[in-house]
Symmetry: C2
Subunit: 427 residues, 2 copies
């Protein structure tokens, strides 16, 4: 394949003519496909319908400690569920509070608590003139939406294959007391699928923040979401490193079963140091009497333990892996060598990150949309939806069927080619 950049104007014009024709044909098909969100597919959900049977009218509804799961009580979760989620992220079960179906909600509430009540006795953030968060980019749009809603200034930190640019992170965190937090998806990052290296985790754990109320928001959303059995990323457990560095209170870690059991009906958890947990619970105890313990019991009965969960995740991988591979195959076959895009090859998680030529992402997503394929909005992976190079696109291959996916991927590469040619003709 010849790189598009080596093509002359006439070659580009002729190529554009051919691509325009193909695009016209694609549009005429009247597609209606969605590669925008990290949603589980119907096949995944159908595969786990027996999840709905493990709790029924014959079920022993008491916890191992004898608490009736049907009634009020147990603010921080049933012991069995604590253990399951603790094992999922490799921490001790006494570091866990179990919540309802949304880890996003826990993260939001964690920031809201800092805004309203501060952190372990610090000034509430809502009383400060300026609060800043570091945002590894590209990153997760819903993280950025939270900090934006609270009026927190967001600072872009470039991502690398080993995690965020740690020189920059250390500089900001150690020098600026207005920097109060950083959003991290440390394993199979959203959208690249990168896993932070051991060195990155150690540097995080050893941060010396200028602000006493600085916290790392460690969203371990894809802890057990491996695509390959033999080739999986290992994330160093951060609390053990924090302890070595004398930084026990530095991290709030989040996890959930949202892409393990039904996305809308999972359970979630925060993991934190004793001091952080006590502070959180002292505020939470006014907010709620506690989360749905029957659903915690349902998860425990379904998986029994972490091994059961891991076996279950292999079934998900069997469904998802071919979809990732189908998209990657199309990208490689159609765009390989053309010099108009690069992409990641994740070993887990829910996304592939695509980098187009500068100034093409919006055009590509728009063209896809006009031909009936919805992608995550261009820019969504950056704070304020502002991708400075207009080049990043998040691909979410899990929701469509394999057949739909191959149609959608074909359209996507066509739109990449077309937008790239148009860009090169401008230049």
């Amino acid at each position: 394949m010849k790189s598009y950049k080596e093509l002359g104007r006439e070659e580009l014009l002729s190529l554009k003519e051919s691509l325009d024709r193909q695009y016209g044909e694609a549009k005429a098909k009247g597609l209606k496909l969605d590669m925008s969100r990290g949603k589980a597919s119907v096949s995944q959900l159908n595969m786990e319908m027996d999840f709905l049977d493990v709790v029924n009218s014959d079920t022993e509804i008491k916890t191992e400690t004898g608490v009736d799961c049907r009634n009020y009580g147990l603010l921080d979760g049933i012991p069995e569920a604590k253990r399951l989620l603790a094992d999922m992220i490799g921490v001790s079960e006494d570091m866990i509070i179990v919540f309802g179906n949304s880890s996003l909600n826990i993260m939001y509430d964690a920031v809201a608590r800092c805004m309203l009540f501060g952190v372990l006795g610090s000034t509430p953030w809502c009383r400060l003139d300026k609060v800043k968060f570091l945002c590894p980019v590209p990153g997760y749009d819903r993280h950025f939406a939270i900090t934006e809603q609270f009026g927190i200034e967001m600072i872009n930190i470039p991502m690398t294959e080993t995690g965020p640019d740690m020189d920059l992170v250390e500089k900001y965190v150690s020098e600026d007391p207005a920097v109060k937090g950083i959003w991290c998806v440390p394993k199979y990052s959203n959208p690249q699928g990168y896993t932070y290296s051991d060195e990155t985790v150690r540097r995080f754990a050893a941060l010396k923040p200028a602000a006493e109320d600085f916290r790392i928001f460690w969203d371990n959303a894809y802890a057990v979401h491996d695509l390959y059995e033999d080739e999986r990323d290992e994330l160093l457990e951060i609390f053990a490193e924090c302890e070595k560095a004398g930084n026990e209170d530095l991290v709030y870690e989040f996890c959930s079963t949202s892409k393990i059991t039904f996305p809308g009906s999972g359970i979630s958890a925060i993991a934190a140091s004793r001091a952080n947990l006590e502070s959180i619970k002292s505020i939470m105890t006014i907010q709620t009497i506690g989360p749905d313990k029957m659903n915690q019991l349902r998860h425990v009965k379904y998986f029994k333990n972490i091994d059961g969960m891991k076996t279950h995740m292999k079934k998900h991988a069997q469904i998802i892996r071919p979809k990732f591979e189908a998209v990657l195959e199309v990208l490689e076959r159609e765009l390989g060598g053309l010099g108009i895009g690069t992409w990641t090859r994740p070993r887990g998680g829910y996304f592939i990150s695509f980098e187009s030529l500068e100034g093409c992402a919006k055009a590509i997503v728009q063209k896809c949309k006009e031909a009936g394929v919805v992608m995550t909005g261009a820019g969504a992976t950056y704070p304020y939806k502002a991708d400075p190079k207009d080049s990043n696109i998040r691909i979410a291959p899990t929701f469509p069927s394999e057949e739909e996916l191959s149609v959608a991927a074909d359209l996507f590469v066509l739109c990449v080619k077309l937008a790239s040619v148009e860009k090169l003709l401008e230049g």
Copy 2:
């Protein structure tokens, strides 16, 4: 029966001696009973175990509009659940957002949103020097705990059999722009079991607040919790009255199924005007992807509709009613005519409110505790746990078995007598 106040010193001393002996005997029994919280009993929970069977692996998991309840989506709830909860409180289903298992959590978040973002464009309350709430007393301790946590000043408003003292409410609300809210349990109030009269509801709906961001927090927790079929309180629906008064945005109403199905695993809702709902949703959409729709579906499948729910509530009433009657019988038999206490006779809800002689409530609760019966803490029914007369005690008869309850009630009246005699001997 001769009133204690008519007894001379010698009679009181002799009575005390006899009561002391009885109390010593009661203590020796080593009781361990709990009349402190409004918890459903094991009989109630066992009666509804089939709730766990209505959703299983054979269930049609789509909403009537075709949405897959297992996956992400539907921030404001499934249409069927909106309708069920709307019918429960007599409003239109488009006024509803369905949430997770805790209406307390919705109320907390509602106040938190006002603190952080204001109300329909007003200044966030956290930026104001002073925010005040009116608190009908005695009232619900968890309401007062929320406003206390946010540093909101609480003002006591005396309750009457027809609702809060509305002259006082109107005066505060119309004159003081720092008054931003009032906590109400309008039907079968906690702890008295009073239901606001039509006139009270109309006066609420017609309030002319000095503060544009004043809201009524209308916690309709006991909307369908009648004890008697033939003798039930009817609460006037407030939104219709608000509309007549041109006050559509004045009310946030809350409800839940927490004492209809399993207390820890219910669904809950906020009802509000279109403008309020839109504002709430615009903030919520950043906080969560949405509540557990499978549990909403479970409720809808279990009850089918509001008639199914009402039939179900009759079964609860059959279990609870004898408990209320047992306590009331003991109170009447043992304390009637003694002039040392008054109490309410609710037709629904979860509590009986007891008024002792001034300065006796703490002593009574303490004596009960020492003999092994836990009551709601004296003072808990007042903001800042400060009952100015130290006279109110909330009795929660639902959790113990009937047998336990009769033992607990016997002890309670004994402690009332003893504390009263001691008080009279002091005077």
